[in-house]
Symmetry: C2
Subunit: 144 residues, 2 copies
DNA sequence: TTACCTGCAAAGGGTTTGCACTTTG
DNA sequence: CAAAGTGCAAACCCTTTGCAGGTAA
């Protein structure tokens, strides 16, 4: 048993949950992938290695992981959600309306906005999404 | 016929569409409301004045208005969308996870982020959503 | 052993659509 | 009058859930 797996087990156990083969695999695929998977794509990739896993389990696991703070759910303007593992630096998304490509970027300015909102309105911000959309360089070219 | 209504008619006509009683009313209610209506709430308010209007027409009209650039659709983290008329200043949203209250705010910093992304990645941004969530002053109190 | 977890299939909830009828321009 | 719009109900799609059978701890 790798220490990596042990840490994962601890994380689940600490949250009063169990580490199952399905959950381990889902977490693995999520971490390998470059973020922004939707549930169906994730399900497909997971099934490629373990055909038995159901879409329901994928959704349930995503909910658990979100609850544990290990996964974030994003609404990128489509009719379904995208998921990605939580990393250190907060980051945001641009999605191309032409080809669907997603570009990640950081924006330290957002922290300032959050601070100001807290001061002015007394709110406590727990989540921040900055989602831009438009056309990537390639698609701008095509549209011309 | 007011000049206001005339302008609305022009707007529809210019887009190759017709101004109907339903569309006029839906637009009216949207403009009177303080933004962020979901389709069902909008439908309710519209039906209060014209009971015959269907939810399908509300959705179809919202799509048309969005297409005309007069309405924006927002994903505020819930399982359904919210709509509001487009106003001059761009603005963003904080929504309270406790009570659902939505606070609007401006954030000039976003323009800078967009400019930078354009320079660095060559993208053209056509839409920007900054959506914060957390707890408003009142709900923070309760949770303590 | 016993909670917890899974797969399956069915149900949910928001949104869209086919169709016959009505209305706008 | 032709094209566009509407109401209704059914269809859709993503997501959630009830249940009976597994499985981690």
């Amino acid at each position: 048993m790798t220490s990596r797996e042990n840490a994962l087990r601890e994380a689940f156990h600490g949250a009063g949950r169990r580490l199952t083969a399905q959950r381990r695999l889902i977490m693995e695929v999520l971490e390998e992938s470059e973020g922004h998977l939707d549930a169906e794509t994730l399900h497909d990739r997971v099934r490629a290695r373990n055909p038995g896993i159901s879409l329901a389990t994928v959704y349930r696991t995503l909910a658990v992981l979100e609850d544990m703070g290990r996964v974030e759910k994003h609404s990128l303007g489509e009719d379904h959600s995208h998921y990605e593992t939580v990393r250190d630096a907060p980051h945001y998304h641009f999605s191309c309306l032409g080809c669907g490509r997603v570009i990640e970027f950081d924006a330290p300015e957002v922290a300032r906005v959050i601070r100001r909102l807290g001061e002015q309105e007394g709110v406590q911000v727990t989540e921040a999404h900055l989602t831009l959309s438009g056309y990537c360089a390639r698609c701008r070219e095509v549209r011309r």
